[in-house]
């Protein structure tokens, strides 16, 4: 019946006179960060902030139940708030008992779907009615960039809605079952934005619907209205995610097909073939892989250059991230006889960062190290303990190293240091550095001249440490 063991007291924290959480045990610190707060920083859990303020204004020890939400789960517990009078600065001691985490209780599936429909109805910027054959009966645009659609429909009324918009990812032609089209993406004539289509059946769903509510929900706000505050990135403000959301999905499949077919030819799966032809096929596959990698890099580039790009703040074990990156690149290292020297299992170095971004940076660094190291050499990855609230991880190779002059521009966009046929896009390190900075970190390189033993490149990723208990 009772679900929590050990002791009832789960976390203790101290707040100051401005309700800033000064110190906190781990669960509380994690919740504070998950709610978007800092440590130390103003208590970011609204439910707890109310209690602390209340106790402080009443100057009484209070004890109340509280429930909060950390983005994934519902957290419930029992909070006891004890104001600390006098010279301690009028803050409070916060004791949380019975810390419990429950997966967010979802309402019934149908109720949930209803809520989603309600959200879409509220946020649609163009809407209308379709008849049973999905022909547009009426449409009204609420956004200026949907007016052209409205005009097009009034010029040539009575056609199916798919004739007026350009569907993405849907290669089929009408007539299509409405369930296949509900939720699909499209672009509208005269609109730069991406739109999501909702078809909500009218009348009985089990039999053929008598018609549809037709909603067009934009995926992003109309640019020019909202981004004026990002003055430093004004050039990028009109940034539409062309590559990531439009080009990549369209190009990925054909490129994958090119690579797959080229590999089939190269390995002669379809029958005997002359040697030269398999070599050509190998080249085609390699070029396809380059294109594919390039596309990923460009999509990433576009993401990191979007104004307001931010990363999550979670606990990242750097040694663990390094081991995972090494696991992914192990085959490539083995193929060249390169030894990956990784940090020890128990070298716990906790950073506050986003795990997949750290992994991405490490994949880039270790991948580069493998690519530019001589065969049968060693790539060394080490974590470094925090000093002044920072932790770091370094990647060193035994390759030719980086000169002072190269180090100065190695993180530039499209910088390839004079190499032009090794398949790189010249974006990897640039993206890695942008990612590092987005996580309040820094990516640096030590040049050949300043390394004692005079050889190999040494890259170092510094990150803020995860606040310990």
């Amino acid at each position: 019946m009772i679900e929590r063991g050990d002791t009832l007291l789960a976390a203790r924290g101290l707040t100051d006179a401005q309700d800033r959480l000064v110190t906190a045990d781990e669960p509380l610190a994690e919740l504070q960060l998950a709610c978007g707060g800092d440590l130390p920083g103003v208590l970011a859990v609204p439910e707890l902030l109310v209690l602390v303020r209340q106790a402080r204004s009443m100057d009484l020890r209070i004890a109340r139940e509280f429930a909060a939400h950390d983005g994934d789960d519902r957290i419930t517990g029992f909070a006891r708030v004890h104001p600390r009078g006098g010279e301690d600065g009028e803050g409070c001691e916060l004791l949380v008992e019975n810390w419990q985490r429950q997966p967010n209780a979802l309402a019934g599936a149908s109720e949930f779907a209803e809520q989603l429909d309600a959200i879409d109805r509220a946020s649609a910027e163009a809407s209308g009615r379709l008849d049973a054959a999905q022909r547009v009966q009426l449409v009204s645009a609420a956004a200026p960039d949907a007016r052209e659609l409205e005009a097009a429909i009034s010029r040539e009324p009575g056609r199916t809605w798919t004739d007026y918009v350009t569907l993405q990812d849907v290669a089929h032609r009408q007539p299509l079952h409405w369930r296949l089209l509900d939720g699909s993406h499209c672009t509208l004539p005269g609109s730069q934005r991406h739109w999501r289509v909702r078809l909500l059946p009218l009348g009985s769903v089990s039999t053929a619907p008598a018609g549809f509510e037709w909603l067009l929900v934009p995926e992003e706000p109309l640019s020019g209205i909202h981004s004026t505050q990002d003055s430093e990135d004004d050039a990028a403000a009109g940034h539409s995610r062309l590559i990531g959301s439009a080009l990549t999905p369209v190009l990925r499949q054909p490129i994958a097909r090119i690579i797959a077919n080229a590999e089939t030819i190269r390995s002669r799966l379809a029958g005997p073939l002359r040697e030269e032809y398999t070599e050509y096929a190998g080249t085609i596959a390699a070029a396809g892989q380059h294109l594919s990698g390039m596309l990923d890099d460009l999509a990433d580039l576009e993401v990191v250059e979007t104004p307001g790009f931010s990363t999550a703040r979670e606990k990242v074990d750097l040694a663990d991230a390094a081991r995972r990156a090494a696991g992914i690149l192990g085959v490539r290292a083995q193929a060249r006889g390169i030894t990956l020297d990784l940090p020890e299992e128990d070298e716990g170095c906790q950073a506050r960062a986003e795990f997949r971004r750290v992994l991405q940076i490490l994949l880039n660094l270790i991948g580069n190290a493998i690519a530019y190291s001589p065969d049968n050499s060693r790539v060394t990855v080490r974590t470094h303990e925090s000093r002044n609230g920072r932790v770091a991880i370094s990647v060193a190779d035994e390759g030719p190293g980086i000169s002072e002059e190269q180090a100065a521009r190695i993180f530039d966009k499209f910088e390839r240091l004079g190499r032009d046929n090794d398949g790189g896009s010249g974006l990897g390190l640039y993206i890695s550095q942008r990612l590092a900075r987005a996580m309040d970190g820094e990516l640096t390189v030590t040049s050949r001249e300043s390394v004692d033993d005079g050889c190999g490149a040494l890259f170092r990723l510094d990150l803020p440490t995860f606040p310990a208990r």
């Binding site: 009772i2 100057d59 020890r61 006891r80």
Partner: protein
């Protein structure tokens, strides 16, 4: 109306006004007599207001008042002044002032009702008002922290039953908001007496010794919270006992505990049914609980079709002002 010509007629009009106001006040209290009297005669014993409850509420307000005056006396005269009684007029004045605060009055009423209901359950279903089977299980828990909390709750509950018999209401047992209301009443009466504010040291000492989490209601809700999802088990009145049951019902149906207590009175069957439904109980389970609490009341089957969050929304809209705590 003409201006009063002389000073004498000026005094006359003010006397006249005074008498008129006094008469109006008399009218108001007379108007109140009939409905209250009718209510008390109508269904003695089962009424929301019985003379036993009125007496208990009066006793509790007096006890509050005595504690405050004792604290004041101790501060002014030092600890030697214990045992010496306070003038009855002073006790009455403060008790009257406390009784005029509807929130304080409401809470006293709910406590009186809680012990009244507990006594009735003891008579009718031999339900121990202090130690219920669930509390016993919790005391025997293999987790020392829970066992300790349950033990403390048992002690607090036993003190509560005892103090209810004596018609007492210890200051430390008040919810924090009420504690402050009581302090405010105290200050206003002290100022009215013309002896200046209550001594700061007395207020400070009372505030320092206050800990909501150590009060009976605080301990009960901590215990319910410690049970986690097991708190649903506390919705079995016979198993949990009224005190724990009310706290659990309040927690799961997200309403003030005072409302949950009042819901157990037979005239509040709809409130109770809604609270059960808000807690997610189905029609059969609700029926079973009613059988114990109010055997005469039939629960309509359709209650099972009301969505729990709907039930909660309806509850939240109810205007239980007398017992409404802003929490």
């Amino acid at each position: 109306m003409a201006e009063p010509a002389t000073n004498i007629s000026g005094e006359l009009t003010s006397v006249e006004r005074l008498l008129k106001e006094e008469l109006a006040r008399g009218d108001r209290s007379l108007r109140g007599v009939a409905p209250v009297l009718a209510h008390m005669l109508e269904t003695s014993g089962h009424s929301l207001l019985s003379d036993a409850i009125v007496a208990r509420v009066r006793g509790m307000l007096e006890h509050l008042s005595r504690q405050l005056l004792a604290a004041e006396r101790a501060e002014v005269l030092g600890s030697t002044a214990h045992g010496e009684g306070d003038p009855p007029e002073a006790v009455d004045t403060l008790a009257d002032r406390l009784g005029s605060d509807h929130v304080v009055l409401g809470h006293a009423y709910v406590l009186a009702m809680e012990s009244h209901l507990a006594e009735r359950l003891e008579r009718r279903a031999s339900l121990d008002p202090v130690l219920s089977p669930l509390l016993q299980e919790l005391i025997a828990s293999d987790q020392p922290a829970i066992a300790e909390l349950a033990m403390a709750t048992l002690a607090a509950q036993s003190r509560f039953v005892q103090s209810q018999r004596r018609m007492d209401m210890p200051l430390a047992e008040l919810p924090a908001e009420l504690f402050l209301s009581v302090m405010a009443c105290w200050e206003s009466v002290a100022r009215g007496r013309g002896r200046g504010a209550v001594p700061k040291g007395a207020v400070e000492r009372l505030k320092r010794s206050y800990d909501e989490g150590a009060s009976r209601v605080g301990l009960l809700s901590r215990l319910v919270s410690a049970m986690g999802n097991g708190a649903l088990a506390a919705l079995e009145l016979e198993h949990a006992g009224l005190a724990l049951f009310a706290s659990a019902l309040a927690a799961v149906s997200r309403q003030p505990r005072d409302n949950a207590v009042i819901a157990c009175h037979e005239s509040q069957a709809a409130r109770l049914a809604l609270a059960f439904r808000a807690a997610g109980l189905d029609a059969q389970a609700i029926e079973r609980q009613f059988l114990l609490l109010e055997p005469g009341i039939r629960v309509p089957e359709v209650i099972g079709q009301l969505a729990p969050d709907r039930a909660q929304a309806i509850l939240a809209r109810s205007e239980a002002r007398v017992v409404d705590l802003d929490r």
